[in-house]
């Protein structure tokens, strides 16, 4: 079975179906740091501990994702109220927030893409990972010195 799965991903793309309407509750994550693992394990690069870095990455153009409780990550293709593909600074206000999203799910090349048509609830940052990890990474908050 394990040998079959890569073959499925490598097969020629089939575009046979439309998206499906879904309601997903999850945390808006910084997909670069979450999937690269370079800033820490998956538990450390979510929530309040990683909020500042998530802002930097979003501003730098990294697409945001929605991490569902079952561990599934949905790449957010468009976000409520924005007519461009999600990324850049359009999602700063919800970085690290847990939201309830109503939208359309599309699958492409083995990835889940989500078009968030409406954020039906914004629970703010509820994943208090800073209590366990502090700021991840620490240098995400530059040393601030009062200007002379």
């Amino acid at each position: 079975m394990r040998a079959l799965i890569p073959l499925l991903f490598l097969a020629a793309p089939v575009h046979a179906a439309d998206g499906e309407r879904v309601q997903i509750t999850g945390e808006v994550i910084d997909t670069w740091c979450y999937f690269s693992g370079v800033m820490g394990g998956p538990d450390a690069v979510v929530g309040s501990a990683h909020h500042t870095c998530a802002l930097w990455c979003s501003a730098g153009g990294i697409p945001v994702g929605l991490l569902a409780p079952d561990g599934t990550v949905y790449m957010v293709l468009k976000m409520d109220g924005d007519d461009t593909t999600a990324g850049g600074d359009t999602s700063l206000h919800i970085a690290s927030h847990t939201i309830e999203a109503d939208g359309m799910l599309y699958r492409r090349d083995g990835l889940n893409y989500l078009v968030v048509e409406e954020i039906t609830a914004d629970r703010d940052i509820v994943n208090a990972t800073h209590e366990d990890f502090g700021v991840i990474p620490g240098f995400a908050i530059p040393n601030s010195e009062a200007p002379e």
Partner: protein
């Protein structure tokens, strides 16, 4: 700020937990197509439309040659993909459409790209023409700030678009995927 962004972006390629992204279900159509007809100018000074002159698959990214954030990740990946796909017998044309035509001119764009993303062709044009092309691809561009050197720093979309030889949309690639995975995806479209 730039240091923090760079520190986040210039780390290792995104491979560690990539498997959790995979969803072994049939593909579905995106809600809209990306792309359309355009005419810009490449960094050799030639007019360039959405169609590749040699009919090759095209990798298309929106960025700028002086970008020190996501472009320093995505553009070298496109350069590597072009090399790796060529080794598999698939020739593609990697293109970057500037979001900063004030800096990225016909004269400056080629040499700037060559320093960190060899083989890429830069496309530039008027602010109006470039804004229209961004609209075709649903790509945003926001001026974040001007750094102490006087260089404008932009936030902008970061997907790599895969287009066919006529400029038709095939798929898009989030920059968090590994180069190997992106090559596999493009190869599947070349075969299809």
């Amino acid at each position: 700020m730039r240091t923090a962004i760079l520190a986040c972006l210039l780390a290792l390629p995104a491979i560690a937990q990539q498997a959790t992204l995979e969803a072994p279900l049939p593909d579905t159509l995106f809600p809209s197509n990306f792309g359309g007809d355009y005419v810009l100018t490449d960094h050799y000074g030639n007019a360039r439309t959405q169609a590749d002159p040699d009919g090759r698959l095209q990798l298309l990214f929106f960025g700028y040659a002086t970008c020190e954030a996501i472009c320093t990740v995505a553009l070298p990946i496109m350069s590597d993909m072009t090399r790796d796909l060529s080794a598999r017998g698939i020739e593609v044309t990697p293109l970057v459409i500037t979001v900063d035509p004030e800096t990225d001119t016909v004269e400056t764009m080629g040499p700037a790209l060559e320093t960190f993303a060899p083989g890429l062709t830069g496309l530039t044009g008027s602010q109006t023409d470039l804004a229209r092309v961004r609209d075709l691809f649903h790509v945003e561009r926001t001026l974040l700030f001007t750094d102490p050197r006087g260089v404008d720093v932009y936030a902008h979309g970061s997907h790599i678009f895969v287009m066919d030889g006529d400029g038709g949309f095939l798929t898009l690639l989030p920059p968090i995927l590994s180069t190997d995975r992106m090559v596999e995806i493009v190869e599947s479209y070349a075969a299809g």
